[in-house]
Symmetry: C2
Subunit: 504 residues, 2 copies
C-alpha cells in the first residue's frame, strides 16, 4: 500500500483556510431561503437577518457542530457483500451521475436518456469491478408524471446490487423512493435496519446560498438517519473566486454551514467532505471540469478533510471531450489518480463526457479500467521479504531468464493488473485482428454483458410487490438495445480469454 | 508548490532494498564483457572470476563509489536559456527516443523514420513548452554508411535549441558526434566550456550483465566529463523477477554497479537514477510499458533515488496503444503524473506509441499538453493571503457573481492552465465547428509549426562549417512534409487566439 499521500497544503495553510472560512461564516454568512432552516440555525446560536434571510455563524457554533461529524460513512448495497464504508485503504470509485443525454450504443447518436438506460447501466455496473457504487448516471426522460426520481431509482435498484445513489427533486419524491426501498426490503423495519439507498443533493448554491428544497431534504435525511451526502459545486470565476485557495476558503465555509445544519438536525449524521470544484475557462466562460485545477483542488480537499477527520470525496474523472479520444483518456485519468495519491476516499468519475452532459456506455467501461489502474497504483509495491526475490535472482544469475521460474508461475496472474480493454498487441497483429481502438473494444465488453440476462435482477415476487404499489411504473428491465446481439464468436473468444485471465 | 510527495516505500523498505542490492552485488555479481572494465573494477577492489567474467562487488566498494555521485545533473541546450539542472521544483519533461518508425503526418501510414523527421521534430520541440529536452525521438533510416548517429544528432542540433540527447552505437560514433558539437560551438574549447550534447546508453542488460560497447562508452564519457546517463530497462517476468520489490532490488544492484564503474572512471561524474521498468503481460509475454506497474515502479525509484541523493528519472509516458485513443491518453498521463507526485525529477514521455516502436507527431503535441498539466498539478495551489480572496468573497457576498471583479480580471490568464488542444466547446458548437478529436487538433498545431520556417535553425555560416567537415551529410533541414500547406484561415485564427491567451 502507498506509504504516505502527496500533500498539497501545509498544516499552517490548512489552519489558515479553516480560520478564513470561519471569518466568512461569521462576517458574511449564508443566504438561507428555507425558514425552518433559519429558525433551526437561530435556535442553535446563529444570527439571522430577518430582512435579508442572511444567517451568520459564530465560530464557536461552527466548531461545536463540525466536531460531531463522524469519521466514517457507510453506503449499503442491495447485496450486503457490496456494502462500502469509507475511508478504507484503497479509495472507492463510483459512476458519475445525472447526465440528461446518452450516446446511444447502437446508433452512435446522442439522445435523451431513459429509464431503460438506467436499467442497463445498473446491470453493467454489477460487472465492472472498478466501481463500488452506482451513482445513477442519467436522468429518465420517459418518467411518468409524479415519478421522476422513482423512474431512476427503480431500474437502478432492480438491476444493481451495489450501493445506488442519486439526488431527488423534493421531499415528496424522497418519500416515494424510501417507500420503494421498504417494499424491496420487505418492511419498513427491514429497510431501516439496512438502508440501501443513498441520497445526494447540492444543498449549497455557491456563493454562500442555501436553497429551499435541498435544505429541506438535508434536514429530513439528518433527522431520520437516512444516508445522504451533499456536493458543493462552485465555479471559479463565476460563483467562486478565480483562485484555488479562494475557492477552497469559500467552499469550505459552505460545507461547514451545511455540516452545522445537518448536525443540528441529527447529531452524528454521517457526511462526506465532498465537492465538484471547477474553474471556468476565462477565454469564453466554458465550464471546464476536465481542467487540471479540479484535480489540484482534490489535493486541497484531502488536506482539509483530514484536518476535520471526515471522509473526503470529489467529482474527478470528468472531461470536456465529446468523443472518447485521448483527451477523454487523460482528463478522466489524471484527476482520479491525483486524488487517490492525495488521499481522497471517494472518487466520482465514471461514464460521463461533454462536461457531465452525456453518458457513453463505452466510456463507462474504459473508466472502469482507469479505476482499476488507480486502485492498483495506490496498492503500491507489495513489499515483503519474499517479494524481494533474492533467492530467485541468485538462482537465475547474470544473463539468465525469469520466464520459467516457480515464482513467475506463482505470480503470473496476480503480480500485475491484466487489463481487459487496453491493447497490447504489436501493430501488425493489431492491424490483422481488426485494428480497433479502445472504445470499440469497450463497446464489445458492454454488448457482451447487456446481451445476457441480468442474473442479479430483483426476484420476480419482490418485483411484483413493487409494481403493485406504483401505478404506471416504468418497466425497469435490462433489455439489450434494439439491434444488439451477442458479440460474434471470434472476438467473443478473445474477450473471454482475457477476462478469464483476469478473474482466475 | 506541492508540499510533500507521495511515498511508495518506508525508510525501512528503502534500507532493506539497498542491503538486498548489496547482497546481490557481493554474492551474485555482474557478468562484465568488457575486459578494460573488469580490470578497472578489479583495481578498485572488486573480485573478477577470470573463467566466467563475473565480477562481484564488496559492499564497501559500492558504498565508497556511490557516495561520489553528485546531487545534480545538468543538460545544456544550444541556447543557454534552455539549460536544465535537475532536480528542480517542477520535474523536467523530455520526448521519448529512438523509435524506428513514424506515423506519417500526411498519409497516416507507418513508415521508417528518417533524418528529415528528426529535423521537423527538433523544430517542433522548440515550440512545445511542456518539453525541456529533445531526446531524439526516432532513428534515421536514410543515414549514410558510417554516419548513423551523426544523421540523428545533426538534424536535431541544427533545429532544436533545447538540450538534445540520445544514444550512440559505439565510441567511434560518439567521437564523430562530439566533433559535430565542436564545429557548432566554434572550437573544442568552446564546446568543452558548454557541452550541449547529452549521451545516453543502456550500460546494463538485465539481468546483471554489462555489454562491451556501452560499457566502453560509459567509461569514456566519465573519463572526459561528457554529460551522459544510462537507462536500465528490465522486463519483469523475463529479465527480472515478476515482482515489483524484486525488480527494484535487481535493477538497483545494476545501477549501483554502473555507478561504481562510472565513478571509478571519473570521480564525481554526474548521473541520473534512471530506469525503464516494464512488466511483461504474462498472458502472452507482451512488453507492456503502458501498464500501471511501470508507474508504481517510479514511486519506488523516487524513494531509492532520494536515499542516494541522486536525481531520478524514468521512461514513463509510454503506451501500448497503436492509435491515439483514450488508452493512449490515460496510459501516457498516469505514469508521468504518479511519478511527478512521487518526486521523480526527469520524465521521459513524449510522442511514442506502439510500446516505443512508433513516433506520432500528433501524439507528441498531445503529450506536450499532458506535460503542462502535470507541471501545473505539481505547482499546487499557489497559497498566500491574497489568493485566499477574503475581501473579494466579502464584497461579492451570498448569491453574487465573481465574473467581473478586479481580481478575476487580474487572474484570468494565469489562475488556470489554458490548454491549446483540449476541447471545451459544448457538443452542439463542437459539432458545428468540425467535430474534431484531439488528434486532429494536435496535427493542426504540428502543421502550423512545420509549415513555417524554423527561426531557430543553425546560422548558415555555422552550418556551412559543419557540412564542409562531413562528406555526404544528410540535409537536416525542417521542411514541411510533401502535401502540407499552412492550416486554413478559419482554424488558424482560432488556434492563434488560444495560443495568444496562453502565452500572454
Amino acid at each position: 500500500m502507498i506509504v504516505s499521500h502527496a500533500r498539497f497544503m501545509t498544516d499552517d495553510q490548512v489552519r489558515r483556510t479553516h480560520d478564513a472560512s470561519l471569518e466568512i461564516l461569521a462576517q458574511v454568512g449564508l443566504l438561507v431561503r428555507n425558514s425552518k432552516a433559519r429558525d433551526r440555525l437561530a435556535r442553535h446560536g446563529c444570527a439571522v437577518d430577518t430582512d435579508t434571510g442572511v444567517v451568520t455563524f459564530p465560530a464557536a457554533v461552527v466548531e461545536e457542530f463540525r466536531a460531531m461529524v463522524p469519521a466514517t460513512f457507510t453506503l449499503r448495497g442491495r447485496d450486503p457483500a457490496f456494502d462500502l464504508t469509507v475511508p478504507r485503504a484503497v479509495p472507492a470509485f463510483t459512476t458519475a451521475s445525472s447526465a440528461p443525454d446518452v450516446l446511444d450504443p447502437v446508433s452512435g447518436q446522442v439522445r435523451r436518456a431513459t429509464s431503460a438506460d438506467i436499467a442497463r447501466l445498473g446491470h453493467l455496473v454489477n460487472e465492472l469491478d472498478g466501481f463500488d457504487v452506482f451513482s445513477i448516471s442519467v436522468l429518465a426522460d420517459d418518467a411518468p408524471a409524479g415519478q421522476f426520481s422513482l423512474s431512476r431509482f427503480y431500474p437502478a435498484l432492480k438491476n444493481c446490487v451495489k450501493p445506488c445513489r442519486t439526488s431527488v427533486i423534493d421531499l415528496a419524491e424522497a418519500r416515494q423512493v424510501l417507500a420503494l426501498g421498504e417494499l424491496i426490503a420487505g418492511s419498513p423495519a427491514a429497510y431501516a435496519a439496512r438502508p440501501f439507498i443513498t441520497f445526494g443533493h447540492c444543498p449549497v448554491v455557491s456563493p454562500l446560498t442555501m436553497d429551499f428544497d435541498s435544505t429541506e431534504m438535508l434536514m429530513f435525511f439528518a433527522e431520520n438517519g437516512i444516508p445522504n451526502y451533499g456536493t458543493i459545486a462552485p465555479i471559479g470565476g463565476l460563483s467562486a473566486p478565480l483562485s484555488l485557495p479562494g475557492m477552497m476558503a469559500q467552499m469550505n465555509a459552505e460545507w461547514l454551514a451545511m455540516a452545522a445544519l445537518a448536525q443540528m438536525s441529527g447529531p452524528g449524521t454521517p457526511m462526506l467532505y465532498n465537492f465538484l470544484p471547477v474553474f471556468a475557462d476565462m477565454r469564453d466562460g466554458a465550464f471546464a471540469p476536465g481542467g487540471i485545477e479540479t484535480a489540484v483542488m482534490a489535493g486541497a480537499v484531502a488536506a482539509m478533510g483530514r484536518f476535520y477527520g471526515v471522509p473526503t470525496g470529489g467529482y474527478l474523472g470528468l472531461t470536456n471531450a465529446t468523443v472518447s479520444d485521448a483527451q477523454a483518456g487523460f482528463e478522466k485519468a489524471m484527476a482520479p489518480l491525483l486524488a487517490a495519491l492525495a488521499g481522497i476516499d471517494y472518487v466520482v468519475m465514471g461514464g460521463l463526457t461533454d462536461a457531465l452532459m452525456c453518458l457513453d456506455y463505452a466510456q463507462l467501461a474504459i473508466d472502469d479500467e482507469i479505476a482499476l489502474m488507480v486502485k492498483r497504483a495506490v496498492a503500491g509495491l507489495g513489499f515483503d521479504e519474499a517479494a524481494l526475490s533474492l533467492d530467485e535472482i541468485r538462482a537465475v544469475g547474470p544473463g539468465g531468464i525469469f520466464v520459467d521460474t516457480a515464482q513467475t508461475f506463482a505470480r503470473m496472474k496476480t503480480a500485475t493488473l491484466l487489463p481487459r480493454l487496453a491493447n497490447r498487441l504489436p501493430r501488425e497483429v493489431w492491424a490483422a485482428t481488426g485494428a480497433t481502438d479502445i472504445r470499440f473494444r469497450a463497446l464489445e465488453q458492454v454488448r457482451a454483458v447487456l446481451t445476457r440476462p441480468n442474473p442479479r435482477a430483483l426476484a420476480p415476487e419482490v418485483d411484483a410487490r413493487v409494481r403493485a404499489a406504483f401505478d404506471g411504473l416504468v418497466a425497469g428491465d435490462s433489455v439489450p438495445p434494439a439491434g444488439w446481439t451477442p458479440p460474434h464468436a471470434g472476438r467473443g473468444r478473445r474477450q473471454t480469454r482475457r477476462r478469464a485471465g483476469r478473474r482466475d
